[in-house]
Structure formats: C-alpha cells, structure tokens
C-alpha cells in the first residue's frame, strides 16, 4: 500500500503513530502504550512498553529523536520494537531479555521538531516552543535537563542551536520524560539515547571532564558493545566519555539520568561519519539498525546479568 509504514524507509510522524497502534494490536501481550504527556504543540508523547506486564522487573529506558534532524534515530527505535516482538521466542538473547526485563521505548522525543523537519525545514534541530522576547523558536531538548544546566555560555541565546531553554526542564517534552523516569526509577536500571551522526558510543559525563566512579565498567561495556556492533558490517565506532570524546556539553539527558541514579547510561551517535551526515540514505537504514541491535542487546544483557 503506497505510503504505508516501512522499516526500510524514514516515516513521518503520522505513520509512526499509526505504527504504534498496529504494534499494540499485533502484540497485545508484549506491547503496551503509555501516554507520558504532550508536546508544546499538543502532540502525544507515547512510550511503548515492551515485555511482560509485571512492572517490578528491571527495565531499560531508550529514547530516540531528541534532535529533529537526526532521522536515523527514530528509525532505530521502530526497528528495535519490531525486532523485539518478531524475535521473541525465536532469538535466544532477545527471549531471555524479554522474559526477565522490560524496555520503555520513546520512538520520537521531539515530535514537534520532527514534524517540522518533515514539513518545513529538514535541518531543524530544536523543539518548537516559543521564546518570550525573542523571534527565535525552540530549545535544544538535550541541553534542557537539570544536570549542570546552562553552565556553558553558548546555551544562553534562544537563537543558538544549543539553547538550553529559560530554565532546566522548562520544556513539556523534557518534563514528561523526567517525570516518567523518576516515577519508574525503582525498575529502570539502564538509559540509552539515540543520536546521529559520527559513530560513537558515549557515556557520562558531558558537563565535566571528571570521570564517573564506574567509568572503567562503562568503558568496558562500551568497548564490547562497539565490538559487537562491528561484527555485522565492520562499522567502526569509537567510545568514551562525552566531554573528552566530543566536547563538554551541559544539561544533557545522559548526565541527568546518571546523576539521578541510573548508573548505566549510554548515548549512541549512529551512522555515518560525515559523508551524508544527517541525510543518511534510506538504503543504509536496515544495516545501521541491524548492527546497532547487537550493541543494544549486549548492553541490555550486561545490565540484566550484573545490575541488581
């Protein structure tokens, strides 16, 4: 059917919403949908809970699409849900994971920005909130978390691409996510956030070059995760703490989740390394998703086996 949802293509928001409904109906025992809030433009923020009904089990929260133009990121979350439901009972690792833990998947974090990048400006990054006293629209949601918020000067100007908002958690989208994670903190043992591009697997901190107490463990997990990823197509990822691997950044979701107490938090910068940048062709979606699945399943397995 022309225009239907496809895992091999980029899907606009209305197709993704329809896809969430389809997944609910196809897998009622494994998929449930939680509306955690609404965006500035009143779009529904849906988290898909993948796994058995029992809320007490360990869980991993994974978000995609915090930056609007990074389209490969939401494509991965859709692929993850598809593979989890399709291979449960067939693939040994996925079956073991879903028998013993849940995944909370936020397919698109920055829905308003994602829609805008489809309809008006493919290069859009921020959300679409208005900034009083400025003609410039939007806050960078990944600078809006209460983790050393606004500690760098370049996040002060609403016209900057990395504007962190008037206050920490000022944005409806951020608040919806932080409220959900806080209210499920007993069960959430891991946090994964998907970005693009530059093929990196990052862990805290971003706001300081200090290293987290368990940085050796995080580095070990990141190394094995990137090794697993590269077994599929030999795609090379680097890994390390955000501040020294890319550059210092404040107010990020990764640092916030870590400081909240989730000690296994990772950020993926998916393909590629700049040949296409944010415009990764659809013909690379499946291979990008397949290789990334290997790293995400390893991280989940590690958390299942090592975190009480």
């Amino acid at each position: 059917i022309p225009g239907r949802h496809s895992y091999a293509k980029y899907n606009a928001w209305d197709k993704i919403v329809a896809w969430t409904e389809k997944m609910l109906h196809k897998h009622p025992d494994m998929v449930s949908r939680i509306k955690i809030g609404t965006t500035v433009e009143d779009n529904p923020l849906y988290v898909l809970k993948i796994g058995k009904k029992d809320e007490r089990r360990k869980a991993i929260f994974m978000d995609c699409g915090i930056h609007a133009r990074e389209w490969i990121s939401p494509a991965f979350c859709q692929w993850f849900v598809y593979q989890a439901t399709k291979t449960y009972g067939k693939n040994k690792i996925m079956t073991k994971l879903l028998d013993r833990m849940n995944f909370y998947v936020l397919p698109v974090f920055n829905i308003d920005g994602y829609i805008w990048s489809w309809t008006q400006n493919r290069m859009w990054r921020k959300n679409r909130s208005k900034n009083p006293g400025s003609k410039c629209i939007g806050t960078d949601l990944n600078r809006n978390f209460n983790a050393s918020w606004n500690s760098f000067p370049d996040t002060n100007d609403p016209c900057e691409e990395t504007y962190g908002g008037p206050t920490a958690e000022s944005e409806k989208e951020t608040k919806a996510v932080t409220d959900f994670i806080r209210s499920h903190l007993k069960s959430i043992k891991g946090y994964i956030t998907m970005h693009s591009y530059s093929q990196m697997l990052l862990f805290p901190y971003g706001y300081t070059s200090k290293l987290p107490p368990n940085q050796e463990e995080l580095a070990k997990v990141a190394k094995i995760g990137t090794d697993a990823l590269s077994t599929r197509y030999a795609t090379h990822y680097i890994y390390g703490p955000i501040a020294s691997t890319i550059y210092p950044t404040s107010g990020s979701s990764l640092d916030w989740a870590y400081k909240l107490g989730i000690k296994h938090t990772f950020a993926f910068e998916l393909r590629d390394k700049g040949k296409y940048g944010f415009l990764l062709p659809e013909s690379q979606i499946k291979s990008t998703c397949k290789e990334t699945m290997l790293a995400v399943k390893f991280i989940a397995k590690y958390i299942l086996q090592h975190i009480s």
């Binding site: 293509k9 400006n121 700049g274 944010f278």
Partner: protein, 93 residues
C-alpha cells in the same frame, strides 16, 4: 509555508591545525551563519574536525578565507538540496 530549500548549500569539514587556524574558524563562525553539524555547537579546538553547513553565497567567501590561510578542508556535501532529495532511495515496499 513553502518548505525551506537548501539549493547549492554546502557542508564543509575543517580541521584546524593550530590556534591561529582555530581562531580564524571562530571568527568565521561569528561573521557568517554557520550551522554546526559536528560537534553540534560552536566548539572549535585544534585538531578537532568541525563540520558545518553554509549557504551558497557565504560558501565562496569562506572558501576564499580557508584557501588564503592554507587551511585544510573538504566539502562533504556540495548541494544539500540534492542530498536531501537523494536520501529517499528506497522504493515503497
């Protein structure tokens, strides 16, 4: 509203070799509208690769400054609008 078009916009990759070149790049960021792709902010350091998007008009003056200062750069994308249209390279199922 008609969607924004990016005809002949370019994406540059520059790797400043020393402080002087890093400062030249910082000055270009101040005098031109550069959309930083990597890293995602105006964070320029020596030996760090920096990717940024710039309009066709500004790209000529930027190229002139980079050439004049013998800075190493490459153009990752020569026509952004073309790349935007080419990303949809999978037919409907």
């Amino acid at each position: 509203i008609a969607p924004v078009r990016f005809d002949k916009e370019k994406v540059f990759r520059v790797k400043p070799q020393d402080e002087k070149q890093a400062n030249i790049l910082k000055d270009l960021a101040k005098t031109n509208k550069l959309d930083f792709w990597y890293p995602d902010a105006t964070h320029i350091a020596v030996n760090m690769r920096v990717d940024f998007r710039v309009s066709e008009k500004e790209s000529q003056s930027i190229q002139f400054v980079l050439d004049q200062n013998k800075m190493h750069y490459e153009i990752l994308i020569h026509d952004l609008q073309e790349a935007i249209e080419k990303q949809f390279d999978v037919k409907e199922d």
